[in-house]
Symmetry: C2
Subunit: 520 residues, 2 copies
């Protein structure tokens, strides 16, 4: 991606220590430079971690029982984090505060994770994407996971979830949090389960409580809590094609059945809220009963749990704890909109955060595509953050290449959603790239791409010579046939009026070079 | 893809020579085999071409002025081609005939292309996909193009367009047609332009007429004709961000302006119909003014041309010529549905055939994904065939790998559309794969995949050992944590009633092995 034309700049906010990063792309043809949202962070030294950008802001506020951005927003305070986000999104700081205060957006910012560059998740902002990483029993290297983190944010991940389940969970997370310029999410149940030897029946509130405090102390910004899997909902999943596919959901279902008691996550939810409020950990209320196949989409098990998540959202808000709601999963296109509409209604417009959804089950190895379709649509309908799916989904653990494929597919989905939502800043990027394309500014076209490296590489496969970068044609049609070229001439022509020009056109422009840039 | 469990079978139709191919996937676990639509053809010898499956049927009918499937359908005749299609789609032959008679579907079947296995394009049938191939001035190998054809149909292309523009256009097309088990489409304007030395101003009706007869004689099944680019529409494209991006559209616009006359494709349209009727060539009425960027979507230039295409559709029907209508292009999600609704209204429900559309301009090198999003949606809304886009779109000519990536992305889009449309045969495939997934029948899962090779390869990257193919876990969570496994146990449990079972569960199922198959 290295190109002199792409560089990181910082835009000064309302106070000296609010400096907001962007990628600025310099263009030819007399065009103004374009600024793109940049999640890559200030770079990192694996031994040292990142600088504590937010440390002074956190210290200024001191510590209290309700250290949350929601608390300050409700009190009418625009925090430096909110001011940062306002510059980043090109919006008014008061608008940012309002959206957080209403619960329609969250700004995940654990007081113990000062390294984050503030970002916001809400339907009235740019659509965000999350990348999952993490060790497992069969793949266990901390260095690999930190590299995946850095790689994911380089390509545009807005948050990263550490889903480690192998050994060294604590140490892996420590390295990830200290090196992450984006909010980190976890599913604390996985570590709690390791602590009780992997037997879900042995889980209890005490070990879970200890685990979330440990993780909150480290700086985890949001935690998935499957508190909506109630005892009475479990039988609703019995006749499904794929039962319960959420790991957390199945663990809690096993616990509920074994003890024949209501989930300790549900019965202790207010205590959870007190802890989360102290650190400003946000809830990501997990959908433990989400559908794992097209056949199971939008069924009673799924929507029963969603109603409970709505109830828990309102309890969290009592404690000024920020909340988002997780969503499916596998959903055919015609059933996607109902998911958002119902979630927004039941959960008081709390941000929706969905995994895909995959729009068909038949393409393992391509589920970044099956799910980018669903993700783009659900983003348009109002989902605030899209959890990526990599080509390895259902088959294996993603490597570095898979992480990139997943992130790019989801940046596409998120941006397509922003265009369809009519986000005021979205279309300028497309227009700049299309104008560069039309004017044969190849380098500008590459530099404005989501993946400049690959765009350049693909172009050079057929026409590697340097002059081809400025040529007024491409390999698809060759030099004799370019529709873009003739179209530019037609444009000049039409502007000058048609009647008197046809003769002149035949003399001069009639000898134009023509071919296709865009299909047939 | 070679696996003993996947084999080609033929289903006998109502007459002995109607034998319809399917891929049959044998499954374990006592499951019935699954039959999948198969476009790969009987295989081919590049020297000999394919057998003439339809030759006897064509000869039986003799030759007349209106040799078209539409003519027979209107007359109440179910042709062997229609009978073949009925078996292939699992529908009633009379329904097939009705849809063709009404103009809502086409069965492309040039009398000189007896090698095709009949297929149908219409909104009430399975959504089809087209793959573009063809030589150009900078890439010119007939053998490569025939290989791309064979490769495209192996992965599921329903039709193939030969868009060759380099030397040897006639010879390239001959090899493609003779080796193709699927209908072949072309844009005759490209060859006509070569005949006049590449200068659009020199084009005329005579050279165009000669070219379409030449191609009809060879067996081309449908031809893109940009007859809707009228002189008065050209200035409408002048203020666009990307002008006219269709090659055919820009050529005709140049001609109209240079001569200050109406397009010869429009003024000679009835003569075209007479020729097409004789060979049963179908019109693919080209959208020469389609948008080439998000900014230009759904503008007056595009929709003015669409109204003219509606007018031409009705003229073609007077001659019993089959018609489909080409559509865009680049369209943001919220403007997609309007394209289908308007096309269906203006063109009397003639099948819509769209290129993508791409839902954002910012991801060159990933436009198979930006456009699969739009393609899935427009398919759901009623588009009958989706023209693929490869990762090389806007950058270079697709190679063999790109052809496969494009075809798979579009098979996903088409199948997602079929699920959302509620096609009666669509969901059984997803259910079979999901059930295999839930029951850890790994080989069944691979064999039911759109790309069995890659699914198997990705699985084996992390867990290559043969026993892992029957293991009740996968690499994502390892053996200690499988949500699918516990979910199966919960299923058994719930069926037996909850009250009396919790104690027993603790004793037996409490020691279950858990983890995730599907995200967090």
């Amino acid at each position: 991606m290295a190109s002199a034309a792409r560089k990181k700049i910082y835009v000064q906010g309302p106070r000296p220590d609010v400096r907001v990063p962007f990628t600025e792309v310099a263009l030819g043809g007399g065009e103004e430079p374009v600024r793109l949202y940049d999640t890559s962070g200030p770079g990192s030294d694996p031994e040292q971690g990142l600088p504590g950008l937010r440390r002074a802001w956190i210290e200024e506020r001191g510590s209290g029982e309700r250290n949350t951005q929601l608390h300050y927003a409700k009190a009418g305070t625009v925090t430096p984090e909110m001011a940062f986000v306002a510059v980043r999104e090109g919006l008014d700081p008061e608008f940012v505060r309002d959206e957080i205060a209403a619960g329609r957006a969250i700004l995940p910012a654990n007081v113990n994770h000062p390294e984050t560059e503030p970002m916001i998740i809400g339907k009235h902002f740019l659509t965000k994407i999350n990348a999952n990483i993490g060790t497992s029993a069969v793949s266990d290297s901390i260095a690999d996971e930190v590299e995946k983190l850095t790689w994911a944010v380089k390509w545009g991940a807005d948050t990263v979830m550490d889903l480690s389940t192998g050994k060294h969970i604590h140490e892996t997370r420590e390295h990830i949090v200290r090196n992450s310029p984006v909010p980190i999410g976890t599913v604390p149940l996985y570590q709690a389960l390791e602590k009780v030897g992997g037997d879900p029946v042995e889980l209890n509130w005490e070990v879970y409580r200890e685990t979330i405090i440990e993780q909150a102390e480290q700086g985890v910004d949001y935690m998935t809590v499957h508190a909506g899997v109630l005892l009475r909902y479990v039988p609703l999943a019995a006749d499904r094609v794929t039962g319960i596919v959420s790991r957390g959901g199945s663990i809690m279902a096993a616990w509920c059945l074994a003890h024949h008691q209501e989930s300790f996550l549900y019965t202790h939810f207010r205590e959870l809220c007190e802890i989360f409020a102290e650190y400003d950990v946000a809830f990501s209320l997990g959908d433990g009963l989400r559908p794992g196949s097209i056949a199971d989409a939008n069924d009673e098990a799924q929507f029963a749990e969603l109603r409970t998540l709505g109830e828990l959202t309102r309890i969290a808000w009592e404690y000024d704890v920020q909340v988002m709601i997780e969503g499916p999963g596998h959903v055919p296109m015609h059933k996607i909109k109902e998911n958002v509409d119902l979630q927004q209604e039941l959960c008081g417009e709390a941000p929706f955060y969905t995994l895909g959804p995959l729009t068909t089950d038949v393409a393992p190895a391509y589920d970044h595509i099956t799910s980018a379709i669903g993700a783009a649509m659900i983003g348009w309908f109002g989902t605030a953050m899209l959890c990526y799916v990599t080509p390895k989904e259902h088959l294996g653990l993603p490597n570095r290449d898979d992480v990139k494929e997943g992130v790019i597919a989801y940046k596409i989905a998120a941006h397509a959603a922003d265009l369809a939502k009519g986000h005021p800043a979205a279309q300028a990027w497309d227009d700049a790239l299309s104008k560069a394309r039309f004017e044969f500014r190849w380098e500008d076209q590459f530099n404005l791409s989501l993946d400049p490296d690959r765009a350049r590489e693909y172009h050079d496969e057929t026409l590697p010579a340097e002059p081809a970068k400025t040529a007024h044609f491409c390999s698809m049609c060759g030099p004799k046939f370019c529709s873009m070229k003739i179209s530019q001439e037609l444009k000049d022509y039409a502007r000058q009026g048609m009647d008197e020009k046809s003769e002149e056109f035949t003399r001069s422009g009639g000898k134009v070079y023509l071919p296709v840039v865009d299909g047939a």
